[in-house]
Amino acid sequence: MKKIFSRLLNHLITVLLYISGSITSLIVILIVFFLFSEGIGLFGKKPTEDGFIMAVNKSNTVNHLNAEQIKLLFDGEITNWSEFGGKNDSIILFRMDNITDYFTEEQIGENFENLPACISKVVDSIPGIVAFVGKHYIDKNFAGKELQVDKITVGDFMFGKLWFPTAHPVAVFGALPLLLGTFWVSIFAILFALPLGLATAIYIAEVAHPTVRNILKPVIELLAGIPSVVYGFFGLVVVVPFIQNAFNLPVGETAFAGSIILGIMALPTIITISEDAIRTTPRSMKEASLALGANHWQTIFRVILPYSSSGITAGAILGIGRAIGETMAVLMVTGNAAVIPHTLLAPVRTIPATIAAELGEASQGGLHYQSLFILGCVLFIITMIVNLAVEFISRRNRRVAS
């Protein structure tokens, strides 16, 4: 009896081990599934508020616009229908508040009973009008036609230049500024961190005395261990005011501040991986180079660096990946303006920072909420590609080395 029991227990534990062995794969799949299922509803929906429609004059040849165009239209940035491919007519905006400009209160009626007829009349009489009105004010006799709002597409989302998730009358979800902002900050972070990290890695692996190495290694580990919110806090109270004073800017929260902080945060990753790569250089190669009369530095630059270049590349890519996904530090120091970046000395906004800043305000299940989950998917895919690339490079490396 006891024997059977213990064998059962053995089997049970083995099964448990099998299950927990695949847990990481399971979690990765779950993450993909949940992010997509929460966010995918965004595509194919109209970005207008429920219960409202846009109406234009019957003679207007423009039938549909996308969210970005409508945003520009209602902001007064575009004032002529010809810019949308319609007739050469100037655009006249009409909202519910404007109704009193055209009709007196008696004409509308005490209980707004004549409102549908009034709106119809206005839309019919002005060729360039675009009216944004409640759906229930449009009846069968309406003389204008409905201006269709394009559904949100993947292309609009990825390449749209405007990010106004809470704008009226339509929300605009164009993630391009966020994508570019993310890359902008990360690339400059790496430009700053790579030379520094590489130099440190060479120093630790090839030049430093063992005692110095034993001090440096824990220091680098500590640098990796400091929480990102502490980096952000440091950036906020030290780097940001410094940049503001040094460049005489109105605000110090800039892409530059983000790049510096991210660069420092990416250092440990780059150093550790590059150092490992440099260490894998076979002793025989180094000695051959030295025997040929090359000095230490020539050996480092002509033999060791080329040999370990793919490992160093892997370190740099992984560093970029970490920088792209970093949330809190960036959120705290980059100023979070969703514009396409053109200089280092202006605020930018990254994808993780957008999610962190906006998810709290987005109502669950709404378009804004869904769009943030799609951003999460984009982020996940980017980091997945980065990881796979690194994995590929380092596997090939290991094969070559062995």
């Binding site: 440096l216 906020l236 996904g325």
Partner: protein
């Protein structure tokens, strides 16, 4: 160049320690925040962070260790093992904010835990799972094969060998991973933003379905979105120092342990 790296560390730590050391006293650590968080202490945030660390470790440590054992001892060499290691690495590279989104979607909404300690702990647990798995793998790798063979030679089964021989030898090394993940969990902000963290709570949590304050989120709130940022700056320095101290101590213990153990192994 590398002195620059040391310089960065010294600069950051030095700044936070010199600014924060004056704020920290017994009262700061053990009283509630007062006057819109400009006075008083950070006691609830410390308690919250400890709750989260404990909860996430309860979840991540057993599963991570089992997963590590499976990958190193059971999984056949070749594609399957490579795939599992690849997935572990992938999970380690997923940005923390994505964990936050996932935790919010699964634990908070789907499973209906709401903003709670359990949702936050599970999310943080997932985040550190790869760390635990990897250190377990490393620890198992460092166990000399002769121990395994000797155990088999005495007639022990695979599970017995792992449970009675391999794990006891590897265990101190596995603990290093546990300590490192404690450091990581106590510092993470993004995953708890939407799963557990509260802006301000006047009372301590009573069950695992309660919200808590947490040190990293508290620091974020104090330094960016408080109503009187200037007045609460001192509190922020203090909070940052406490947070850094926790992480530093965790790292130092892990390091010391590793050094001590590598000496011991050499002696064997």
């Amino acid at each position: 160049m590398s002195s620059l790296v040391v310089f960065f560390l010294v600069l950051i730590l030095g700044f936070i320690i010199t600014k924060g050391i004056g704020v920290i006293n017994w009262e700061f650590l053990t009283t509630m925040p007062e006057d819109g968080m400009t006075k008083g202490g950070i006691y609830p945030a410390i308690v919250g962070t400890f709750c989260l660390v404990g909860g996430s470790m309860l979840f991540a440590f057993p599963i991570g260790v089992m997963s590590g054992i499976f990958i190193h001892e059971y999984a056949p060499h070749g594609f399957f093992k490579n795939f599992l290691q690849l997935m572990t690495n992938n999970l380690a590279g997923v940005p923390s904010i994505v964990f936050g989104l996932f935790g919010m979607s699964l634990f908070v909404n789907k499973l209906g835990f709401g903003d709670s300690i359990i949702a936050g702990s599970l999310t943080l647990g997932l985040l550190v799972l790869p760390i635990v798995i990897r250190t377990t793998e490393e620890a198992l790798k460092s166990v000399n094969d002769s121990f395994r063979l000797a155990s088999y030679g005495l007639g022990a089964g695979k599970l017995q060998t792992i449970g009675r021989v391999v794990l006891p030898i590897a265990f101190p090394n596995i603990i290093t991973g546990l300590i490192l993940s404690i450091g990581r969990v106590s510092g993470e902000t993004a995953p708890i933003l939407f799963t557990v963290a509260a802006y301000y709570l006047p009372k301590l949590p009573t069950s695992m379905y309660d919200q808590v304050m947490a040190l990293p989120y508290h620091l974020y709130v104090l330094s960016t979105s408080g109503t009187n940022i200037k007045e609460s700056r001192d509190m922020a320095y203090g909070t940052a120092l406490v947070l850094v101290m926790i992480v530093l101590i965790a790292n130092l213990i892990a390091n010391a342990l590793r050094k001590f153990l590598s000496k011991k192994v050499k002696m064997n």
